[in-house]
């Protein structure tokens, strides 16, 4: 019993220690390369310079971080809402799917970088243009995964619901949506990552400056001014945002599925 507890503790320690160790080692290698090769800071700053930039430029970077975070989460939220409603509509009738699916596919396969300039022209404000871009990218994985999930309902389960006289809403709520939940979570994880990418790409194309600008613009700006430490600092903040989104969606997925779904179960042998 005590042995098992100890090995579990060891296990937990190792799971934290190894990733931290890898990151520290990479930072050390980075530092050594910069100093051994004598690379100037306007090409590659060392990690300490980046850390200093992160602290010193915080008043500039933090508002930008907030802007990018807002756009990412708002677009993800809208994509979540839109994708769910749209997916439920699509599976209600074959003809609805025939009408709308091609439109969704066209929007998805056209690279967002290519449509962004157009959206910038048509959208009333730059902010809304960024939002639309990020939304379009995050929307599709959520839609297609959820449609797939809603269609994957076990026929025996459908027979069961028919036998007990379930109405359309009951079948949707008690059978189809729970069946689709693991698919939905996959869509959410993909959509979460993509919405950040799309927000950054859209901001690159918009190139907007001033108070309302996000991290992506700060990166471009830092590059123009050869302020490479600040560029790295902004990059680190973007990474942190991406990691946070990934952790959040993974946690949500675990929370909803761990009691019953195979993907969240430990093998017991």
């Amino acid at each position: 019993m005590e042995n098992g507890e100890r090995s579990e503790q060891m296990d937990r320690l190792i799971r934290i220690a190894i990733p931290v160790g890898v990151v520290l080692a990479l930072l050390l290698v980075w530092y050594l390369i910069v100093h051994v090769e004598n690379i100037p800071p306007y090409i590659l700053p060392d990690p300490i310079a980046v850390a200093i930039a992160l602290v010193k430029d915080w008043p500039t970077l933090w508002p930008a971080f907030v802007v990018t975070t807002k756009i990412t989460f708002m677009s993800l939220g809208l994509a979540l809402l839109g994708g769910t409603v749209f997916a439920i509509l699509l599976v209600q009738a074959r003809w609805l799917e025939l009408i709308f699916y091609p439109i969704a596919v066209v929007l998805q396969v056209t690279p967002i970088v290519a449509i962004a300039p157009l959206i910038l022209i048509y959208a009333p404000t730059t902010q809304s243009a960024l939002l639309i871009c990020a939304y379009l990218v995050a929307f599709f994985p959520i839609l297609s995964n959820l449609v797939q999930g809603l269609k994957s309902v076990d026929h025996n389960h459908l027979n069961l619901f028919e036998l007990y006289g379930a109405n359309r809403f009951q079948t949707l709520w008690h059978l189809k949506l729970p069946t689709a939940l693991p698919y939905f979570m996959t869509g959410l994880k993909i959509g979460g990552g993509l919405s950040l990418i799309a927000a950054v790409v859209a901001e690159f194309s918009a190139g907007s400056s001033g108070v309302g600008s996000g991290l992506a613009f700060r990166i471009l700006e830092a590059q123009f001014r050869l302020n490479i430490p600040r560029l790295f600092a902004a990059l680190i903040m973007l990474s942190a945002l991406g990691i946070a989104i990934f952790a959040l969606t993974s946690f949500l997925s675990w929370l909803l599925l761990h009691r019953w779904h195979e993907s969240s179960l430990k093998r017991e042998n």
């Binding site: 076990d154 025996n156 389960h157 027979n159 069961l160 619901f161 028919e162 036998l163 007990y164 006289g165 379930a166 009951q170 008690h174 059978l175 729970p178 939940l181 009691r259 019953w260 779904h261 195979e262 179960l265």
Partner: protein
């Protein structure tokens, strides 16, 4: 022994035929009445339409011609019997995201009964199948036999008059299967419900039934319909008794004749 008195019919099929959209004739001119208190086994080679017949008895899917009626049941606007008939599928068909108790609650929930009101009925159904201690478990934590028991509890929770079972124990090992057969018999004796039981197994049908309907294939129709084990107590010795052996022989001859006929086609 006095012959059993005829009881009221629960389900009547009159000259029912069913042809699928791909042209396969699944059933041709099948007439069958199931009465209260009967244990009817549908037996026959695969493709003889026994599962199709069972689904029709449950009101799942429509007939191509003929008539099905449930004289003892209230009929819903969809033309199906309301709540008096339960179905146990080949697979347990439990919802993996629900606990055992929540799975058993499902039929009542779909009828709009609150969980609070349903609680005592859920407990009763679960203790009938000896799973009272597993109410909070998830299906993945149960063995195959236990899952099937949950499926039976779910069928019993609506207090049906007619229980339809479609090869419910086909996927289980022989020991579990015999145990569950005994449990089903016990249920049948104590609850006064009628059971229609689809099976491949001569022994299973001879052991369980009060009446056996042997079917033949292409198209599915009734070959022979006869009572077995009339007035015989199924006690511990039944499996080694003369009457069980005779029933097995009777069923197996009938089945051989039904299949031989098929070979002559």
């Amino acid at each position: 022994m006095t012959p059993p008195q005829p009881t009221r019919p629960l389900m009547t099929m009159a000259s029912v035929s069913k042809t699928f959209s791909n042209g396969t004739a699944a059933l041709a001119d099948v007439s069958l009445t199931v009465r209260a208190g009967e244990f009817v086994s549908l037996l026959g080679p695969s493709g003889c339409g026994k599962s199709t017949a069972l689904r029709l008895m449950a009101g799942l899917g429509g007939v191509s011609s003929g008539n099905i009626d449930w004289p003892a049941s209230r009929i819903t606007s969809h033309g199906r019997p309301d709540g008096d008939i339960s179905f146990v599928f080949q697979e347990p068909t439990l919802l993996p995201w629900r606990t055992v108790a929540e799975n058993v609650y499902l039929p009542l929930q779909l009828q709009g009964i609150s969980r609070k009101e349903a609680q005592s009925r859920i407990e009763e159904a679960l203790s009938t199948v000896f799973l009272a201690d597993f109410a909070k478990s998830y299906p993945r934590e149960l063995s195959g036999g236990m899952k099937m028991r949950v499926s039976i509890a779910r069928a019993l929770v609506t207090r049906p008059k007619l229980l339809l079972m479609d090869e419910p124990f086909a996927a289980l090992d022989e020991i579990t299967r015999q145990k569950l057969n005994d449990e089903v018999l016990e249920l049948w004796k104590s609850n006064g419900l009628a059971v229609v039981f689809v099976t491949h197994s001569v022994f299973e049908s001879a052991y369980l039934s009060s009446r056996i309907v042997v079917m033949k294939a292409r198209p599915g129709r009734i070959h022979e319909d006869f009572p077995v084990n009339v007035g015989i107590e199924r006690d511990a010795d039944f499996r080694i008794s003369e009457s069980y052996r005779l029933a097995c022989e009777r069923v197996s001859h009938s089945l051989a004749a039904a299949m031989g006929n098929e070979g002559a086609h």
